[in-house]
């Protein structure tokens, strides 16, 4: 039976971080009317778009943002109910994640979130160093992150992930290593370690263009990445994707859907959906909702599709994505599965590239033609991927 993941985008944040390029709206407080209006729109969208994934079993749900924990637990519960109804789920989703920022309000709501069915928390710690947090423009302090983590445990969350950012402005190697130790000391089930990305149009980009950001140089950032890989392995984590680490059995089910090219229905402002290759689209398709809240309310949230961007993938695009998304994962490219989908093992299409990348020590190949990035390949993954698109 086909499955689908549901991504629910809740765009509100108390303030906008200077490096953020998500679809976000800054609101001091989410007023009940706004919450109700947005929830109604989301439900409307889920109901009208479920047909795109007709017959699919709802496998995972992910509340992301923005700061979804700014919504009251009842509101999220309502969305979950609507989703279960729309997909006529016979069994509950296997994983329901909520992104949480470390703040008092959100902390107090954790037990209620848990009762609504949410079973996984992704906590936006970013750093355990107050100075670094400040430079990142984050509102919280390190001790609040620890308190929120403890509260999550007390509320009964047995699957908690911590988000850390590495290569932050002014961050030295030691400062980062301390962040990592602090994170490990909390004994979470999952870690996401993202190198700071300077996105176009953000205040950080502006600062970087004037050399005012002072990020660690490439050499240091590389050491941070290498250290993360070594240290987390020592602590019993498996690096199951370039930026994601988990204890056995705790890899994010929802996020793995993206790399496995499995269907995801994304609802809310700026949310992306992916339809896996099938009867509707031979090589799959992606679509994005309008990012603007007003446009979303007016169109998608009202059952329409104005302002929606969509992309129908071609065979070559699908094949390229299959390679680079698989290579992002520890499991790599399964040559047989690839052959079943594309009518040939990777060598059939990329023989010369594979030889070249192997010779450069970036790629490893098994007897049966499975492909994986080498340790060096993990550091130069985009260089490798460029050969496959």
């Amino acid at each position: 039976m086909p499955t689908v993941g549901l991504y629910v985008h809740i765009p509100f944040c108390e303030r906008v971080c200077p490096y953020c390029d998500f679809a976000v709206v800054a609101v001091r407080k989410v007023e009940p009317e706004l919450e109700a209006r947005y929830v109604a729109a989301l439900i409307r969208e889920i109901e009208s778009r479920a047909v795109e994934f007709e017959g699919a079993q709802l496998d995972t749900v992910y509340f992301g943002g923005g700061t979804p924990s700014l919504f009251r637990p009842e509101a999220l519960a309502k969305i979950l109910e609507a989703a279960t109804r729309a997909f006529a789920a016979s069994t509950p989703p296997r994983e329901i994640t909520l992104e949480v920022n470390p703040s008092t309000v959100e902390r107090d709501r954790l037990p209620a979130f848990r009762s609504s069915g949410i079973d996984r928390i992704s906590l936006g710690v970013q750093s355990f160093d107050d100075a670094t947090l400040k430079r990142l423009g984050r509102a919280h302090k390190a001790h609040e992150a620890r308190q929120t983590f403890t509260a999550a445990r007390q509320a009964g969350f047995g699957n908690v992930s911590l988000d850390l950012i590495l290569a932050c402005p002014h961050q030295g190697f030691d400062a980062f290593a301390r962040d990592l130790e602090e994170a490990l000391a909390l004994e979470p089930e999952h870690l996401s370690l993202y190198e700071l990305t300077i996105e176009a149009g953000t205040p950080f980009e502006f600062a970087a263009s004037r050399d005012q950001l002072a990020p660690p140089d490439d050499e240091v950032a590389t050491r941070m990445l290498e250290h993360t890989a070594a240290r987390s392995a020592g602590a019993g984590f498996e690096r199951y994707e370039i930026s994601n680490y988990a204890r056995p059995g705790f890899a994010s089910l929802h996020n793995q859907r993206y790399w496995a090219r499995e269907a995801v229905l994304g609802v809310g402002t700026g949310a992306w959906s992916y339809e896996a290759p099938g009867a509707r689209f031979r090589f799959g398709a992606r679509r994005m909702n309008p990012r603007d809240l007003g446009a979303y309310f007016a169109a998608v949230g009202a059952g329409g599709d104005e302002g929606v961007e969509s992309e129908v993938l071609t065979l070559e695009q699908a094949r390229g994505e299959a390679i680079f998304l698989s290579l992002r994962r520890r499991t790599g490219v399964d040559a047989r599965a690839f052959e079943a989908e594309f009518g040939g093992r990777p060598r059939k299409f990329y023989d010369e590239q594979i030889d070249r990348l192997m010779a450069a020590g970036l790629l490893a190949e098994t007897e049966s033609g499975d492909l994986r990035l080498s340790d060096r390949g993990l550091l130069l993954s985009d260089t490798v991927f460029a050969d496959f698109v």
Binding site: L225, W272, D382
Partner: protein, 602 residues
């Protein structure tokens, strides 16, 4: 199209220094005579190539036929040719002159006489044309039409009272100018009932009909569906189509004496067209062809290579086609160790080289690498005869060379006296030797002997910036002179890259080597390993630098929409890679091969 008696035909071209407003003036003349409708109007309408519009300059001469009702109540047929002003294209001007009896000499009322004003005026005088002087841009606040009219009298020798003040922007003076053209430019003199002779003065390639030839009928007439002969090439054809440009292409049945028009005669093989050839008719052939054009000799040379070796044949075919339209460049096959098979091309100047490359890339969709331009050196070996080289790679070992001679030009520079100092310094730096100096009011004309290789690339830009845009220059080849020259080689990770070699003066070698390696470092992207860039003279390394290895290249987040974004980025990266050339195991981008041009910019 109505026919006109010969005495009411006027053929004239517009000549001037670059940017003095020739093409804009042509716009106004077309307005004034109603040649284009309101809807079709656009600035510099005759600059129809994309590159012309983007760069705001004319590269190819263009003709337009217009009908003008003059004050005497009669209608006249005016054939206008708009010409380019840049020195590299003066060949276009000379050819256009041969189709005219008159020339409108345009001088910018704020800039005054500049180097190409004079050069083009002399061309027109040599061609025996009636010259109608006009000062343009009188609408500008800084315009000084009276002073400029006086300059025209003093320097060119035309009566200041005859200078017509105009503004091609506002349209002021168009009527006066048209009347002067009708009145002063003599009608063409050729007879109708003698053996036909028509001069081919331009041609281009059309995918559907083949070669289109622009002709000026000197005497006799050409008809549609008539057997004709190309007197120099010796080939015989039938005309399939005759037309004129108004500026729209309009078919005509015949072209009579004095008329200018386009001829299509089923010429498909490119080697069958010669600009300067004479067309005559088979029923009553002329005995002697018209004097053609003097062959122009390229002065600047560069290698042109396809980025993708598989495009070599395409490049060859494209060069052939482009050559019909621009007979002033040359090419011959060349092989580079670094770049593979390509062509060594000769151009009239640096702008010409740039334009040819750009036209090949655009009009023929080729992806090319151009090497740094060089001039033609004469090498006197210790043993054997002296010979010429057009590529640094062809220079023998230093130990086998007795002497190297370089081409020297006589440059004429026009500059307002307040900027003279900067100009003298610039010429000094470029190894110039002053010849003479003349003062005309507030403007100075200095003449310098300069090595051609010192002026081919950026001399013009440097002159402009040293004189806040008021300096201009023109040059002509003087001959060869011995100089202390050496070959500067570049090595990338130990492999010599022949296409990056330069011939430089010994005194400049050290600084050029250091700067070139530094520039290359900017162009060569970081690779998976460190890349050493060295400059050497013979076996002696004179400068080195390193592009550090790329340590990491990772996208941290890749969910949902990131995937599409990432894929597009990767696709772009891959397209960028296609524009790189592998030298040994190092990827070198196209632009790096022109790094030598950027020397002295920082």
């Amino acid at each position: 199209m109505k026919s006109f008696p010969q005495e009411r035909i006027r053929n004239f071209c517009i000549v001037a220094h670059i940017d003095h407003g020739k093409s804009t003036l042509a716009d106004r003349l077309m307005d004034e005579t109603g040649a284009v409708t309101e809807r079709e109007k656009q600035e510099q309408l005759l600059d129809s190539m994309d590159i012309e519009r983007e760069r705001g300059i004319t590269i190819k001469a263009q003709t337009v036929r217009m009908v003008y009702r003059a004050q005497d109540g009669e209608e006249y047929l005016l054939n206008l040719i708009d010409t380019p002003g840049h020195v590299d294209f003066s060949y276009e001007v000379s050819r256009s002159l041969s189709a005219c009896e008159g020339a409108v000499l345009v001088v910018d009322a704020a800039q005054g006489i500049e180097a190409q004003t004079l050069a083009n005026t002399y061309l027109a005088i040599d061609a025996d044309l009636e010259i109608i002087p006009a000062v343009n841009k009188i609408d500008l606040p800084s315009a000084d039409p009276d002073r400029v009219a006086q300059e025209i009298e003093d320097i060119v020798g035309l009566d200041a009272a005859d200078v017509i003040p105009v503004s091609a922007k506002s349209g002021v003076g168009m009527h006066e100018l048209l009347e002067a053209i009708v009145e002063k430019v003599p009608p063409p003199t050729g007879e109708a009932d003698v053996p036909t002779r028509a001069l081919v003065f331009d041609a281009w390639f059309d995918t559907y009909v083949g070669a289109v030839m622009l002709v000026r009928v000197i005497e006799g007439r050409i008809k549609k569906r008539q057997r004709v002969k190309f007197m120099i090439k010796g080939s015989e054809r039938e005309t399939t189509n005759l037309s004129v440009y108004t500026p729209h292409q309009v078919e005509v049945k015949e072209l009579g004496p004095g008329e200018v028009g386009a001829v299509v005669a089923g010429v498909k093989t490119l080697s069958d067209v010669l600009i300067g050839d004479t067309i005559t008719t088979m029923d009553n052939p002329a005995s002697e062809p018209l004097p053609g054009f003097q062959e122009v000799k390229p002065m600047v040379f560069a290698g042109l290579y396809p980025v993708d070796a598989e495009d070599y044949e395409d490049l060859k075919a494209s060069l052939e086609k482009l050559k019909i339209n621009d007979s002033s460049f040359d090419y011959e096959p060349e092989t580079s160790m670094a770049l593979g098979f390509g062509f060594r091309c000769g151009f009239l100047g640096f702008l010409h080289a740039e334009i040819i490359q750009e036209r090949l890339e655009r009009e023929f969709e080729l992806n090319l690498i151009t090497t740094a331009p060089t001039v033609r050196y004469r090498v006197v070996p210790k043993k054997g005869e002296a010979f010429e080289i057009e590529s640094p790679a062809a220079l023998p070992e230093a130990t086998d060379i007795q002497a190297i001679e370089e081409p020297v030009v006589l440059a004429t520079i026009h500059v307002p006296s307040e900027h003279l100092g900067q100009v003298l310094t610039l010429c000094q730096e470029r190894r110039g030797v002053q010849k003479d100096m003349a003062v005309h009011g507030s403007r100075v004309q200095v003449r310098y002997l300069l090595p051609l290789n010192e002026i081919v690339t950026d001399f013009h830009d440097k002159l402009k910036s040293a004189t806040r845009g008021y300096g201009s220059f023109d040059y002509e080849l003087q001959g060869y002179q011995e100089a202390s020259l050496v070959k500067l080689d570049i090595m990338v990770n130990g492999d010599p890259v022949d296409a990056l070699s330069l011939i430089v003066h010994r005194d400049h070698a050290q600084s050029k080597g250091a700067e070139l390696t530094r520039k290359l470092k900017e162009f060569i992207p970081r690779q998976q390993f460190a890349v050493a860039i060295q400059a050497a003279i013979g076996s002696k390394i004179i400068a080195r630098t390193t592009v550090r290895a790329l340590r990491k290249n990772v996208t941290a987040k890749c969910y949902g929409g990131d995937i599409t974004r990432k894929r597009k980025l990767l696709e772009k990266q891959k397209a960028g890679k296609k524009r790189m050339k592998m030298v040994g195991s190092v990827e070198i981008p196209q632009e790096a091969f022109l790094a030598a041009l950027k020397l002295g910019d920082s």
